[in-house]
């Protein structure tokens, strides 16, 4: 279980020295063990920042995060992160990049090679073992980042727009792959996405954030039957699905409109 208690965060502004940029404002949230929770919200509202705080990569200014009852004060081997910007090591091949996480955690050579080859196939990169990142497309790089996190078999998986760079077809395929994988190895997943459909299809619960400073607007429990990967097309066109989509879209549109007005009004005047 992940408990986020009264969490706020701010960065020092780049454009003025004495003002701070408030990014997250009083976030409290509980994420049940084994559940799949998605964050959706306008760009720049602090989703990535929140994910980094949960993983222990940055310390929050106010509040704290508890995982299994213990305060998070740094990354741990039973948690893994998929980064929005892929963050692959340019001097390593695909295979060695996937092995990177296990290597850092001290897994021996043959075991980590086996694990890496295993997930490599699962993300559809078979045959590209010896390619370097600069020889891959954006979507392929993203899948390497995904494979790197999956190969460490984490209990907690934090994914920051992990399918954002994929084309729509592969994206849907990867969604079902992900669900299959999670059925086989139950994990607690925190997932950031800009795709409302993706969030609904994958999640047990969706957390909708306001524009910056990020506050939780609402939680929506998604009560669609599982396993969802079996008849995904039926689920996606079901009445329930469409209702969820309309509801979330409505919330997001409202946020985006107020955000845009805030930004453009002074310039027009």
């Amino acid at each position: 279980m992940i408990e986020i208690l009264g969490l706020s965060h701010q960065f020092t502004r780049q454009d003025s020295a004495d003002e701070n940029l408030v990014v997250l404002d009083n976030i409290s949230l509980t994420i049940e063990k084994g559940s799949f929770v998605s964050f959706v919200g306008p760009s720049g509202c602090g989703k990535t920042t929140l994910l980094r705080i949960i993983h222990g990569l940055i310390k929050p200014k106010v509040g704290k995060v508890l995982i299994e009852g213990e305060t998070v004060c740094g990354p741990s081997a039973n948690r893994a992160m998929v980064f929005q910007e892929f963050n692959l090591l340019p001097w390593r091949t695909v295979l060695k990049n996937i092995e990177f996480g296990l290597e850092l955690q001290g897994t021996d050579r043959s075991a980590r090679r086996q694990a890496a080859l295993d997930v490599l196939k699962r993300v559809g990169l078979g045959g590209f073992e010896r390619y370097y990142p600069h020889q891959l497309s954006g979507g392929m790089k993203q899948r390497v980042g995904l494979a790197r996190a999956l190969s460490t078999s984490p209990t907690y998986l934090f994914m920051d727009e992990p399918l954002g760079a994929l084309d729509p077809q592969i994206r849907e395929l990867m969604q079902t792959e992900l669900l299959k994988l999670l059925d086989a190895h139950r994990k607690t997943v925190v997932f950031v996405t800009h795709s409302v459909d993706e969030a609904i299809f994958l999640s047990d619960r969706i957390v909708v954030f306001s524009a910056r400073p990020g506050r939780i607007l609402t939680h929506i429990d998604i009560e669609l039957p599982r396993p969802r990967w079996k008849d995904d097309e039926k689920i996606k066109s079901s009445e329930k699905f469409v209702t969820y989509r309309q509801h979330i879209w409505h919330l997001l549109k409202h946020e985006l409109q107020s955000e845009l007005q805030l930004q453009t009004m002074p310039k027009l005047a």
């Binding site: 990569l57 990354p75 081997a77 980064f83 963050n87 001097w91 990177f100 850092l104 460490t152």
Partner: protein, 285 residues
């Protein structure tokens, strides 16, 4: 009339864009394919031919500029009788030792400077002062400290080489992508693992470039060091030959040095392409 002209003009532009598609004399085809090489060969022939002619016709004294044939003959002679090898070895020893020392000392020092603030704050003014002053100026001091023998020469070469190794390594270490460091941390990397698996590999391209720059400086410094109090070496040959007005021999020394520079540079460049394909394949052209 105007129409045919415009059609001709069209054809001409067509040709310029697609030279392969052009028919015409075989000479023209060869020219289209190898124009750079041909231009260079012709330029070289004109240059060396003109030089040779100027000397033979008596319009310039060979004492000053020698001549291509005289230089070629000397070059052949010194390799044929093997007399040049001891000089190449003498210079190579100084350059090689100086280079190895530069790398062995410069890389760790550069890393320390890039990672440890205390070391950086202490050494930076010193390094910068040294970097901005001509290394050659240290030679008299070095001779006083280390004598006239090989030691002062190696130290001079080392001083010139180590500075670029330090500066390049430091830049490489300081330039490490913070997101990659964060990624390593997210998989629970220790400080040592971050250094060995992220920071050092990302500094490798900088270190290799530093090595190439160091070789260039070292070749210059070897020659300068050998101008004073030597009994062997390419610098010594050049100095002796010029004192004896043996201009062809001066050129022989210069040519060997230039060739060494070209070969070493090409070798290091090949090594860069092999070791750091991610930086070299993209920016090749």
């Amino acid at each position: 009339m105007a129409e045919t002209q415009s059609v001709k003009a069209f054809e001409r532009t067509e040709r310029a864009v697609v030279p392969e598609a052009e028919e015409g004399s075989p000479f023209r085809k060869i020219w289209n394919r190898h124009s750079t090489a041909i231009t260079r060969i012709i330029a070289a022939i004109l240059f060396f031919g003109g030089w040779e002619w100027a000397v033979r016709s008596g319009s310039v004294n060979p004492l000053f500029i020698s001549s291509p044939t005289m230089i070629s003959i000397r070059l052949f002679e010194v390799f044929a009788d093997g007399s040049i090898w001891s000089h190449i070895r003498a210079s190579g020893e100084i350059a090689g030792l100086g280079f190895v020392l530069s790398v062995v000392v410069g890389v760790p020092l550069g890393m320390l400077m890039g990672r440890v603030k205390l070391v950086r704050d202490t050494l930076e003014p010193l390094i910068m002062a040294k970097y901005s002053s001509p290394t050659v100026a240290f030679l008299p001091l070095l001779i006083i400290w280390f004598g006239i023998g090989i030691l002062s020469k190696i130290v001079l070469v080392f001083l010139g080489g180590v500075i670029v190794m330090i500066i390049n390594t430091e830049a490489g270490v300081a330039n490490v992508d913070r997101q990659l460091v964060e990624t390593a941390k997210s998989f629970t990397a220790s400080e040592y693992q971050i250094l060995s698996k992220v920071v050092i590999p990302s500094a490798v391209p900088f270190i290799l470039t530093g090595m190439r720059l160091a070789v260039g400086r070292i070749l210059i410094l070897v020659v300068v060091a050998e101008l004073y109090g030597s009994s062997a070496g390419l610098g010594y040959i050049i100095f002796q030959a010029s004192a004896n007005y043996d201009t062809a021999m001066v050129f022989v020394g210069v040519i060997i040095l230039a060739a060494a520079g070209v070969v070493l540079n090409a070798l290091l460049r090949a090594m860069e392409i092999r070791l750091t394909p991610w930086t070299t394949t993209l920016a090749k052209w």
